[in-house]
Symmetry: D4
Subunit: 161 residues, 8 copies
């Protein structure tokens, strides 16, 4: 079976596109240029590891500062993912989770990391990505480092009303 076969078979699929196309929503999404700007700005604010994810939760940038422990690489990525998926800064989300026995086990979800330093990134009313900082000296410092970078880049950490 050859590649031609496949292409032919794909054409058959395409030939059916007389059907009306669906109307799909459109969303703003971080690009590499903005993600680099976010990461560089964070690295200028603090010495840590920073990761930036796009709207779909896929990594755009990771930068690890000199001498920063290697466990912070995954930590920065998971903080960013947690902020993205919960649309909430991880420090706030972690505080809420531990304040209620019914939600405390959110810290057992492998997909999430309930440590400060991850923030969602909004442009107006839209979630466009997230960033996470780890290893800069504690969750509060990590969060501040990320928030400052977002602010200087013109992105908000909460959805505008």
């Amino acid at each position: 079976m050859t590649i031609k076969y496949f292409v032919a078979s794909l054409m058959i699929g395409l030939s059916g596109v007389a059907v009306a196309s669906p109307e799909l929503p459109r969303h703003a999404d971080l690009d590499l240029k903005t993600a680099r700007l976010l990461a560089d700005t964070a690295m200028a604010n603090c010495t840590g590891t920073v990761s930036v994810l796009d709207r779909g939760g896929n990594l755009l940038v990771t930068l690890r500062g000199d001498g920063v422990g290697p466990h912070n690489t995954a930590a920065s990525q998971r903080k960013a993912y947690t902020a993205l998926s919960t649309k909430t800064a991880t420090r706030l989300f972690a505080e809420r989770a531990r304040s209620n026995p019914e939600t405390a086990n959110l810290n057992t979800l492998d997909e999430l990391l309930l440590l400060g330093g991850g923030i969602p990134l909004f442009l107006g009313t839209e979630l466009v990505g997230a960033m996470g900082v780890a290893g800069s000296g504690g969750g509060e410092q990590d969060e501040n480092c990320a928030i400052k970078a977002a602010g200087k880049t013109g992105l908000a950490t909460t959805r505008s009303q």
Copy 2:
């Protein structure tokens, strides 16, 4: 430390948004309604397991047909992910990979599954998601089942020129 503290600290971040916001690209993205239509249409075409992912590679729908072996659940999801990430139907991508010794090891990437049945979904020139079918009787049947569903839903399996 209280939630108020956090909100205050987030406000500081927001107050910096006098900075010009970045211009970000906008992309069409599958929604649940369209994903459900794709999956239902596929299940009307064949008895298998079907999964649909959005533009970011995140699952929107999985449906497993009665009596379909459970290993097909992950298979359908991984086929869809492979089609999304390579922007290529998995059957074609697998053929290309195995036709060249330098690319044959693409089948050792955990993120990919090089079996027919996964297709990318395009609306015009934009990738908007992907779907994967498994367990309907072989990779060719799986792919046909998916292609028909895409066609009936008004989505293409290749980027329009």
Copy 3:
């Protein structure tokens, strides 16, 4: 060695079936039609991610609502699995687990997720499957969403006496 060889060898196995067959128990089991009804009903009740498992713990349906964070996909599946395997609603199971130091470590079992929103599904005295909801606004909301869907579908969340 050819396929014929194998078939022949399987026949040898079959020829031995003059032996009396064992009497095996029979159980009711969710099918895709009912699982879809459960999932659709849940999605009409709340915006979250819902998963439905059959009696053996294998996924039948996952639907993720628009804008629901992607970490809820695994969460809904694991909640459903936990409810199935413990035959108990996850919210109640989690409360029991944390109320006793000897059982608190049940939250370290990878197979389980001790967060509200998973419920077992019974038909009369038989366990027939389970469902899990995540991301609708908290464990209590998730559970209510699932319970309502079960009720409207004619399935119970506890074994009838």
Copy 4:
């Protein structure tokens, strides 16, 4: 929040069961007694490791013979799972897979193991479970050992017509 609360809330769910219950299919399923008989019979035929799964793919029995290498434990379980999920003896399934370039990558699915020794178990027209043997001296020996055990227990390795 107390356990009483939860029970009350579950009752609300139950009170809705005036709705007609769905009609669900019923299936025969291996029980421990039969699984034990299968495993003991296999161990009387050969020295290896044997595992038996129920209809849902969940383990009922594993027995490892004295001196059998420990890697055969997972192998016997995965062979059984593969036979169950594909409804095909693994030796035949593996031969089919490798005979076609389009299916060769089935051996990259973590859920499957394409080595002889796994067989599905049927009672009449119904799949009721599966068993896998590993470490008895090769895939052919493993398969023969399993087939004999099935035959002596009154179960078939192919669906009756």
Copy 5:
């Protein structure tokens, strides 16, 4: 390169065995016969899932009772492993761990499971294996079920002095 080559090369290795062989310790170890007796005795005492490991921590037997939730399979195996590796009943080990902040994180080791129901098995002064019970109705019941089985089989749960 042929098999002969290898055998020849292995012979070279063997030819060097004029060297005095080392004196190695000898240890008693569970065999399948005793492991089966332990498992059967446990299953006669309670309805749960039972696993028995040999001295090296490798599985000899797993039996899952009818209707016992599938998450108990891994739980019974991990309890047994924990008892073997710590030479302590898991219920006691778990209590000690949680009674001291410095040891509480022992519950984060993937290799261990700090829930009652796992016991080490001693013959005189020697550790010979371990068993774990799960799903019989709680950690205390699980442990009692295992202890009784050990006692009836002539094995002790603590090292004799």
Copy 6:
């Protein structure tokens, strides 16, 4: 519940040991002293990474030579495990596996690694452990390095007849 409680409950178990104890097999097993000698001897023969396992497959020693790539650590351990569990040198086992289409998929078992450099260790007729070498310059060199070390330590790589 206190530790005293547990000890009391364990005593109950012990009190039942009037039952005749089972007769268990006894096996020679590598100790750290011999394992250290094996590893040191290997490291004197070649620059690589060496691992030694006891009879149960548990690690006793790993030594990584200066400048040896870190992927060889897991490789040396997995080679040793493969040799132990198959009771065969990995180079020979790998050749046998690839020489037969029915066994080629043995290389898809996560528990095994089919690369030369792992050897089983026998004392007379007993398997007492295994060792693996990786990174010394190829599978043949790795195997030779291990075989020499075994020879000088007085252990054989095949069971004596």
Copy 7:
């Protein structure tokens, strides 16, 4: 037990440092500044995903180009790790591996990825890190993109003699 306690106990350790310190080797190692330069240069050469590791194999930088499939993130990191640990460009290493049946299974080591695009980075005679490119259009393009970036940054891809 307080932090003071620990510090005191660490001091005891330090007080023993009258012992002569060992002489340790010193090695050049990539820093973030150089890693960033390598990654930026690569991204100027091609559209793909690039990762740079330090001498110890720990990530310094990942950048993913706009529209590059997300599976390339792990691929670029694993290619870089493979080049580092084998001190060989992955394209060459992969060719060598597949040219010999004894080494073909190197593609089953999870730690390695045998696809072109990873290169080791040397400064004179010292290995100082590695980089990997994925998703730029094939292994050859990926490798060229990486080699050019190394060259422009003043690093070599082979050890100087």
Copy 8:
């Protein structure tokens, strides 16, 4: 495509090395000789399992004492990694983490293990590696055993000022 091709293509890369080479930092790093000395000294102090990592977090040595439970192998390695990556003794790091609700979830990072017994190793102002001890009788004993070994080897557990 031949190996010659690759070598040629690598040469092209090298030919570009007229560019000035970057100035890279140089760091002291543990070697195998010192790591063995550390491990042997620890094993003379206590009966446990000891692991030593180099500056990049890669394993140099693991030794497991006779009769020490196998779960301590991974524990000793993860303790060492945690000490390396945090540049802090794990016992102190664990105490700090649990003393603050915002950092308590550090124990959910798979990369870290917050149990006493891991110490970083410094030579003057430089981090050169880390070691971890497990299974010697508790975190305090494990730590003391490691600290003594470091002291006798001439390495410090804190950075000199």
